[in-house]
């Protein structure tokens, strides 16, 4: 599978597909299972300073073209997460996702993830349904730069920054990440959304506002990666609505060095990564590409 090897800045992965944060990554055993299912790496659940039960149920449902969720960043807190990381990092590369409300909090959490053995940290500056966190701090280019700088000063491992598509200044935010020394941009997180139940005259989810993911957001994600490729020169990791190898190729050809997926696990199962790996190999052979890197950004040429 050497043709599937990818490099994101300073780190390499044997396979290009990475489990997106929030999917099958809350426990050590689960992350191990995903690594054994063909994923090149796993991004952990976004972890904060304290245990958080998240929003009350209902916080998820399928919709015709994907799913919506407002989990509300449930996690056991950074201290308890040490045990999960200890189990997971023995099996393969784990990227530690963290969320905070201030540069100092991000830096502290990222430092702990580094101590736990994370090969990189991913800053969640994009969750659309957590008050005071996520995209509320991630849509201001200046604030994004300050957070990235604080984390860069605190850790040696690469700092990835996950951005939201819920903005018209994505390129400005991307440039802020690059200028502050960020090592890679992950795009996109879910789109801010809502579902209403007419019979009850009320929003379905307890948090009312939620994030939309799945097949329907792929064209938006591909465009976002395309725009970021034109704005920055640091690596981009594409995510949003990837279900098969052709979806992954769209992101790669738009400029992504690697890709993440999550919602596809719902319909395609946990072996979706293995299926995509096989699909990519067959495609590369048929179309004469020797590596993922050779295909990166070709749609711009």
């Amino acid at each position: 599978m050497s043709g599937l090897k990818v490099t994101v800045g300073k780190i390499s992965f044997d396979r290009p597909g990475i489990v997106a944060s929030g999917i099958m990554d809350e426990t050590g055993d689960t992350m191990v299972r995903m690594l054994r299912s063909g994923a090149g790496a796993v991004v952990s659940k976004s972890v904060g300073s304290n245990p958080n039960p998240g929003h009350r149920n209902p916080n998820f449902t399928e919709v015709p073209c994907g799913c919506i969720n407002a989990m509300g960043l449930p996690n056991p807190g950074i201290d308890a997460f040490a045990e999960e990381m200890e189990v997971a990092v023995k099996e393969g590369p784990i990227i530690g996702s963290v969320y905070g409300s201030s540069p100092g909090e991000f830096a502290e959490l990222a430092g702990k993830m580094e101590d736990y053995g994370a090969c990189a940290v991913e800053l969640n500056l994009s969750c659309p349904h957590a008050k005071g966190y996520g995209m509320e701090v991630g849509t201001d280019p200046k604030m994004v730069g300050t957070i990235v700088k604080a984390v860069k000063d605190a850790v040696k491992v690469p700092v990835w920054v996950k951005l939201t598509p819920n903005t018209h200044i994505l390129q400005d935010i991307g440039r802020s990440v690059e200028e502050a020394g960020g090592d890679a941009i992950v795009a996109i997180n879910t789109l801010k959304a809502m579902v209403i139940v007419p019979e009850f005259g009320k929003p379905l989810l307890s948090n009312k506002v939620c994030g939309l993911s799945g097949k329907c957001i792929k064209p938006i994600g591909v465009r976002a990666v395309w725009d970021l490729h034109n704005a920055v020169s640091i690596p981009i990791v594409g995510v949003g609505g990837i279900y098969d190898h052709r979806d992954a190729l769209e992101y790669i050809m738009a400029g992504a060095s690697a890709f993440q997926l999550g919602s596809a696990v719902l319909t395609e199962g946990v072996d979706v990564f293995e299926k995509i790996n096989r699909g990519l190999e067959a495609f590369m052979e048929e179309y004469g590409y020797g590596s993922i890197e050779e295909m990166r950004g070709v749609a711009h040429e």
Partner: protein
């Protein structure tokens, strides 16, 4: 999976602790599968189907604010459901003994209706199990009842009852649903005698559909890989009988 707004067709007191809501929903479902149930005024919760025909039902113990809200529903009220989720029971073995403990009797009820099986109904007291007696009479060749306080049937627990039954009857497989402590000791005994089994497990659920990772028992998603697991699988689970994850994902030990 599909989602639906269903209308409460009937709501009745099943036993001293539990109620049953019936509703029409023509989705295909297997015994052992569950649905996510919600209406305004409660949190969405997973409930096993106690009937899998076109007229479906949920049978639930009233134990907290969500089940209290459900218990207060009247005929004509609406519920929003999604599912069915989970794998359901594998009913391919020829001679099956089903074991239901407490509210665990509800999820095994559809098994009685679609296959010739024998059954053990175990509960704290007569108030919790009396309703199962007519079910046993109608659908099973043999059925046994036992209670912790001796108020109905044999005065013993589920595991002791199963031991007595297995001393006189032969089965190829045991299918059980009930409190984890019951399943824990039942598995221990079935391992000793080398009996094949499938148990339905329970964990705190959020998405119910296999993506969020809230209901993990070791590396298994109880909502999607389960809720029914084989004895072989359960024997390898270090979480089984030891503890469970709470809403934060923190491991909470039973002891």
């Amino acid at each position: 999976m599909s989602e639906a707004i269903v209308t409460v067709k009937s709501i009745e007191q099943t036993n001293k602790y539990s109620k049953t809501i019936r509703f029409d929903w023509d989705a295909e479902a297997k015994p052992g599968q569950f649905i996510m149930v919600w209406c305004p005024g409660m949190d969405e919760i997973p409930l096993s189907l106690s009937s899998v025909d076109d007229e479906k039902s949920i049978t639930f113990k009233v134990i907290g604010p969500d089940t209290e809200a459900l218990a207060s529903k009247s005929v004509g009220d609406k519920l929003r459901i999604r599912g069915p989720y989970g794998n359901g029971y594998d009913l391919s073995s020829k001679r099956i003994l089903v074991v239901g403990g407490g509210i665990g009797i509800a999820p095994i009820t559809p098994v009685l209706k679609c296959k010739d099986v024998d059954a053990v109904f175990a509960a704290r007291d007569a108030g919790e199990v009396a309703y199962a007696d007519p079910l046993g009479k109608e659908y099973c060749k043999n059925h046994w009842i036992c209670t912790d306080d001796g108020s109905m049937g044999e005065h013993c627990n589920a595991v002791e009852m199963v031991k007595k039954v297995l001393a006189e009857h032969e089965y190829d497989e045991i299918i059980a649903c009930g409190p984890e402590v019951m399943l824990f000791f039942l598995l221990k005994y079935l391992n000793e005698i080398g009996m094949k089994c499938q148990f339905s497990l329970e964990r705190y659920m959020k998405c119910g559909a296999g993506v969020c990772g809230a209901c993990m028992c070791d590396e298994h998603r109880v909502c999607k890989d389960g809720p029914v697991f084989t004895g072989e699988q359960i024997n390898k689970m270090k979480d089984f009988g030891t503890g469970r994850r709470d809403a934060c994902g923190t491991f909470v030990s039973y002891r």
